[in-house]
Amino acid sequence: MKFKTFAAFVGPSVFMMLLFIAAPLVSVFIQSFQVTQPILEQIEVETCTPGFLTQTCTTEIKTVPVLDEAGKTVTATRWVGLQSYRNVLQMDKFWSAVGNGSWNQIMQIDFWKALRFTLSFTLLTLPLVIGVGLAIALAVNNATRSIRGPIIFISLLPFIITPVIGSLSIYWLFVGDGILTAMMERWSGQNISMFAQAWTIELLMYFYRVWHVAPFAFVIFYAGLQTVNMDTLESAVIDGASRWERLRHVIVPHLMPLIIFIALIHLMDCYRVFDEIVGFRSQAHVISLQWLTFDFMTPDDAGNRAMSRASASSMLTMIGIVLLLIMPLRRTWRDHKGSAH
């Protein structure tokens, strides 16, 4: 392809990526080293609020921001180096907890608590998604042609549900005396509260995510299965290879690039787990890194936002994703270079 044609095709996309991805990223990166504060002053304020029949007035010293002539809040921005990162990571607390050998103490620090969950969530659901996706794909591939269409349709349904809606549905099915909890209670004869402790909530989250994402893996694998070399498979049958051996030595190696592709996408998506936390209202028991960033950014009733810590936290999330992706990416790179020879 001529360079000019190439540039014409790629140009708009590169421009959009620079504008909507690179530029915000740079701005967040810069903000993570800055703190922007309003200039505050302490003034005496008399506030009268309603009671019954009469008002109560109180006079107190309040700390309020200074406004300029145009009525805008006067703010000052200064460079604070790694202070925001220190505030998020709380390394001093972390090391003293490590010194005490207390896992429980480490889990009291928001960032490490969130990291623990995010990593277990990402790494535990990964093999499950690939396994379940492959199993569905093999099942569909071996099913009679007449029922294949309906099976594909039904297995794809979870994937088209909006994640927030999906997690809210699961929450409503299980919370309190939700339909499914009530059913489980009838079977077991015990009072079950799925949202009362961390491990049951986590279990539901894993279950929900695998249910939601497995169809994606299925579609990719199913497409891959159509390209398996039939000659190789037939010769394997003639050589007396069992169904398992054929899967292990012919099909899986053939699908390997697709498995890596799904692993990459899944790692990136799962490390940003957020919908489940909000949908399940699990903040008391389980939090994720992305939720932590969101929590820093959410203004409180007085309008304060911790933008610097939010920026630092999202930079840390990005670093985490890059570290996670290095392994599978290096493999792809090696394969890519290998095949060139």
Partner: protein, 405 residues
């Protein structure tokens, strides 16, 4: 033809009612942003009758309002606020003093409704709200329990109800992690005589009153639903309506729903009393809130004029008479019924509970409380360590916000 007639009849009757309900025709387009509970629905419906009015009822209004009012021109002319959410608007100077407008249109307002900051009227209150004790009067009467007035009595009553096994859980509580659970502490702590801040803006929650508050809160867990850390006001209201709980310290604005026959299985069985006291001779362990309207600063004077006139139409006696039990109204014409007794007893108690102390620092402390308290209630951390964690979390965010040096 028939359909056409019906449609025409509908339009005519709508026009008729609009003309009847509103004393004038509003010509200037006005928009409002407020919370979404029953009282706001009544007020905005009354305003809509004058025409050219669009209401946005959104429980997330608190995160939207500061930015929407800072825009020039402001995205909304009228804002619905509470004493907790007016602070960012006051701090940013995005709402206007209402003295001249009150003089022009506010003949029917009582002086009690005018929220004055340094002498200037900055908001007009329409209702008061507070968390108070709601209980199943039938169950307490059956078991021969007097109405509890302190938290110790509440727990004693809960113990009896638990033994009798008449409901799933004796107590309900709005302890959802975050804002709700923090509010429970903010209710309890002044009840134990604690103060939130020292003079230098550092927090004073790490104190004996703090420890006592945490202990009182934790006792509730013996009697509540094990999933209490995900339950907010709506959830507790539903537990009441479905007859699953017998007592809760719940918002007065939720009281009307107990007698809503479409939703509630306990119509007429839920009574209201003053919020329980934390210590026998103290104030009820709760905070007082008001809800009301503000007018944006970044709009033209004509718009402000029209918006305020419209708001006064929404806050008139006619509206209150149509929705008497939706709130504890401050508007003239309100007839307190049985469901208002709890709130009135709470507010008129001596000593009286404090108003929610809304300040920049309080916003930061509220967030710190909401994030750190759950670990105490799940048992991962003891009370002393939790108070230290709250103090540290507050200090970090207060430094970032510039409140502490």
């Amino acid at each position: 033809m028939f359909l056409k007639k019906i449609a025409l009849a509908g339009v005519v009757s709508l026009l008729g009612s609009a003309a009847m309900a509103c004393s004038y025709q509003n010509e200037v387009p006005v928009k409002s942003l407020s919370a979404g509970f029953e009282a706001w629905k009544a007020v905005t419906d009354a305003m809509a009758e004058c025409g050219n009015f669009q209401a946005e009822l959104d429980q997330e209004f608190r995160t939207k309002q500061p930015a929407a009012f800072e825009a020039n021109p402001s995205l909304y002319q009228i804002g619905g606020v509470s004493n907790g959410t007016i602070t960012p608007l006051l701090n940013a100077g995005t709402i206007r003093p209402l003295d001249d407008l009150v003089e022009k249109y506010g003949q029917n307002l009582s002086p009690n409704q005018l929220i004055r900051i340094n002498g200037q009227i900055m908001a007009v209150a329409m209702m008061v709200n507070t968390q108070h004790l709601m209980y199943r009067s039938d169950i307490l009467a059956d078991l021969g329990i007097d109405t509890p007035t302190t938290w110790d009595e509440v727990y004693a009553a809960a113990e009896k109800i638990k033994e009798a096994g008449v409901v799933d859980y004796p107590l309900g509580a709005t302890m959802k992690s975050g804002w709700n659970i923090a509010q429970e502490f903010v209710n309890m702590y002044p009840g134990h005589g604690g103060k939130f801040f020292n003079d230098d803006n550092t927090t004073a929650v790490n104190s004996d009153a703090g420890l006592a508050s945490l202990e009182t809160m934790k006792k509730a867990l013996d009697y509540t639903d094990p999933e209490v850390l995900v339950s907010d006001s709506t959830y507790v209201q539903q537990q009441f309506q479905q007859g699953k709980i017998a007592m809760a310290n719940l918002w007065a604005s939720r009281a009307g729903a107990m007698n809503d026959e479409a939703e509630s299985q306990v119509v007429g069985k839920v009574a209201m009393a003053a919020a329980p006291k934390a210590v026998a001779d103290g104030a009820p362990a709760t905070t007082l809130w008001w809800d009301g309207i503000v007018i944006a600063k970044n709009i033209s004077d004509e718009e402000a004029d029209a918006a305020f006139r419209l708001a006064m139409e929404g806050l008139d006696t006619e509206m209150v008479q149509g929705a008497n039990d939706a709130a504890i109204w401050l508007v003239g014409g309100y007839e307190p019924t049985d469901i208002a007794t709890g709130a009135i007893e709470t507010a008129t108690a001596n000593p009286a509970p404090p108003a929610y102390p809304s300040t920049t620092q309080m916003g930061l402390l509220h967030t710190a409380l909401g994030n750190e308290l759950p670990a105490f209630l799940t048992g991962e951390r003891d009370a002393a360590a939790t108070l230290i964690a709250i103090e540290e979390a507050y200090t970090t965010s207060a430094k970032e916000a510039g409140v502490l040096k």
